[in-house]
Structures are given as C-alpha cells and as structure tokens.
C-alpha cells in the first residue's frame, strides 16, 4: 500500500514513532514521546488519547487484545501505520538531505 508522505501531524508522528519498537500503554507512550523529542513534546492524557482515537480510526494503530488490565491498554502499530511511518521518515530524510545540500552550497557561495 502506498501513501503520500508528510500527512501526519507532529503528535501523531511522535506517537507512531514511540510505538515503532514495541506495544506500549498510554503513560509509556507519553514518556517515550517526551524522550524522543528531548522534552519538547509533553503530551497530557487528553491530547494523547484524542490522538490515539484518531490513529485508531485511521487504522494506523490498534489495541493489543490479550491484556488483562482494563485500565492499561496497550497499543501497537498496524501494517498501515508502519507504512505511514516509513513514508514520513523517508520524507524527512529526503528533506533533510536537500536542506543540508543547499546549506552547504550557500556556505560555499558565501565564500566565493
């Protein structure tokens, strides 16, 4: 399944990234997102679960069924979510490479 990249909001991207290694429950996702963003994105429970609901509806993540604790529901990436995350990362990589290239050119030109 192909997907156009750079369609995910920042918070959704961060949550997918946090779930990329293993399933996590709400608070673990919040901690991982904060860690990944060097503390720049601090999600509260409201913002987290609003995004989780949207990602769930878009079938980018899903609840892990076999969990006994009702309050600690674990979430994991779906195949579609993994494809979206990969596409988003590809976009960032391409953009970053281009930006570095241009910046390097700019530096060279400024000395010329």
């Amino acid at each position: 399944m192909s997907r156009q990249y750079n369609q995910l909001p920042q918070v959704a991207f961060s949550i997918l990234l946090a779930l990329s290694l293993r399933p996590r429950h709400g608070y673990e996702i919040m901690k991982q997102v904060a860690e990944d963003s060097n503390g720049k994105i601090n999600l509260g429970p409201g913002a987290l679960y609003t995004s989780i609901k949207q990602l769930n509806e878009q079938r980018l993540i899903e609840e892990v069924e076999e969990v006994e604790d009702v309050r600690r529901r674990y979430y994991r990436l779906t195949d579609k979510g993994r494809i979206s995350l990969r596409a988003e990362l590809d976009y960032y990589e391409t953009t970053l490479a281009l930006a570095r290239q241009r910046h390097a050119l700019e530096v060279i030109l400024s000395y010329a």
């Binding site: 709400g26 608070y27 601090n42 509260g44 429970p45 409201g46 679960y49 609003t50 609901k53 529901r73």
Partner: protein, 217 residues
C-alpha cells in the same frame, strides 16, 4: 483515590459518553501513573498544571469532533439543510459589518452614507434576513423536537435538549436572535433605539420613522 484524581474522574464526564467509556479509565490510569512517577510535591504540582491545560483543550477538540461526527452521520438532512440556509441568511449581516470595518481601516471612512446603510437595503440584512433565519431555525428545531423518528423514539424534552444533533440550527438561530437583540438596543438605529419599550409598543411609528429614512441617515 486522591481527591484531585477523583475530581479529574468527575471532569471526564464532560467528554462525550462513547469517548469516555472507551478512554476514560485509561486516562485516569495515565494520570495516576504520572503522579506515581513524581517524587516531590513540586513535581506533582507540575503534573496537575499540565493536566489543567490539557483537559480543557482536549475536551473542546473532542466535543467538536464528536459534534462533527454526529452531524455527518446522524443529524437529519433537513436540520443540515436548514442550518446551511439560516447560516447563509445571517451571513450578509457579518459581511456588511466586515466591509464597513475594512472601509474604515483602509480608507478611514465608513459606509453609513452608502446604499448599503439605507432603507430598504439595510432592512434586509439587519432585520428581514436574520428574522427569516430565526423563524426557519425555530421551525426546524420545533419539527425536530416534536416529530420523533420511527427508529429512535424518545420523548420531546430529551429531543429538545439534544444539542449534539440539533446544533446546526441552534447555532445560527442564536446568532440571528443575537443580531435582532442587538439591533433593538443599538444606538445607531435611531428610530428603534431611543426607547426599546417605544419600539415594542409603537411598532408602526417605528416602521414609519425607519421608512422616512432616518435610519443611518
């Protein structure tokens, strides 16, 4: 359960019921985990400060999404159509005000001397169109309240309070009512405003006064 956490649990009742049923317990658990992870009272205060900001923002977002979802899937077609129609009827009022504001801002003048601010044109956008909008909104709301659908029979009071389904007509209805209410008390409308009671009790003189062209003249 700590007092603040039970207050948080109570506040979760402000979220739409399906959302609360699905995520309410998980949200409480997340707050509980956040608090357990703190070691000092200042850290706990920071956690609560985050929640104080987070809760209303996510609440508004969730309610809007919920209302949007309901409108898309469950609101009857005639309510949606009436909503669009009444919204379109109150639009000229705001367009005229914006045009006047822009004229003031860009050219330091106003449109009070223009055709837009003279009878009968002004009557359309300040009175007849909002009046029609209010009437249509009230009719649609009345139909929705007193004619239950076959598959969803509920009593009229419950339907009258069913804002998530009827908001597309309630909102423009309130706006139209607001326009008419402001109009009745706005001092730029000389004939109508000198005395609101005068307006109500001597309606014909008010209309005559307006037709003579005092309005905005």
């Amino acid at each position: 359960m700590p007092r603040r956490l039970s207050l948080y649990e109570r506040l979760l009742h402000l979220y739409p019921a399906p959302y609360r049923k699905r995520y309410g317990d998980q949200m409480i658990q997340a707050v509980s985990d956040m608090l357990e992870d703190t070691t000092s009272s200042s850290q706990r205060s920071l956690v609560w400060a985050r929640i104080v900001i987070d809760l209303p923002l996510s609440l508004i977002k969730t309610q809007l999404q919920y209302a949007g979802g309901i409108m898309h899937n469950e609101t009857p077609g005639y309510i949606k159509r009436s909503g669009i129609f009444t919204g379109a009827l109150v639009l000229p009022f705001f367009s005229a005000l914006i045009a006047n504001g822009l004229d003031k801002l860009l050219f330091d003048q106003n449109l009070y001397g223009s055709w837009l601010w003279h009878w009968p044109i002004i009557g359309f956008w300040v009175l007849w169109l909002p009046g029609t909008a209010l009437t249509v909104a009230l009719l649609s709301y009345g139909v929705y309240t007193f004619t239950p659908e076959r598959k969803n029979r509920t009593n009229w009071l419950r339907r009258a309070l069913d804002v998530p389904h009827a908001w597309p007509v309630i909102l423009p209805g309130i706006v139209a009512f607001g326009i008419l209410f402001i109009l009745a008390f706005h001092d730029s409308v000389h004939c109508w405003i000198q005395n609101p009671i005068h307006f109500v009790t001597r309606y014909h003189q008010t209309l005559q006064c307006t037709e003579r062209g005092y309005l905005g003249g």
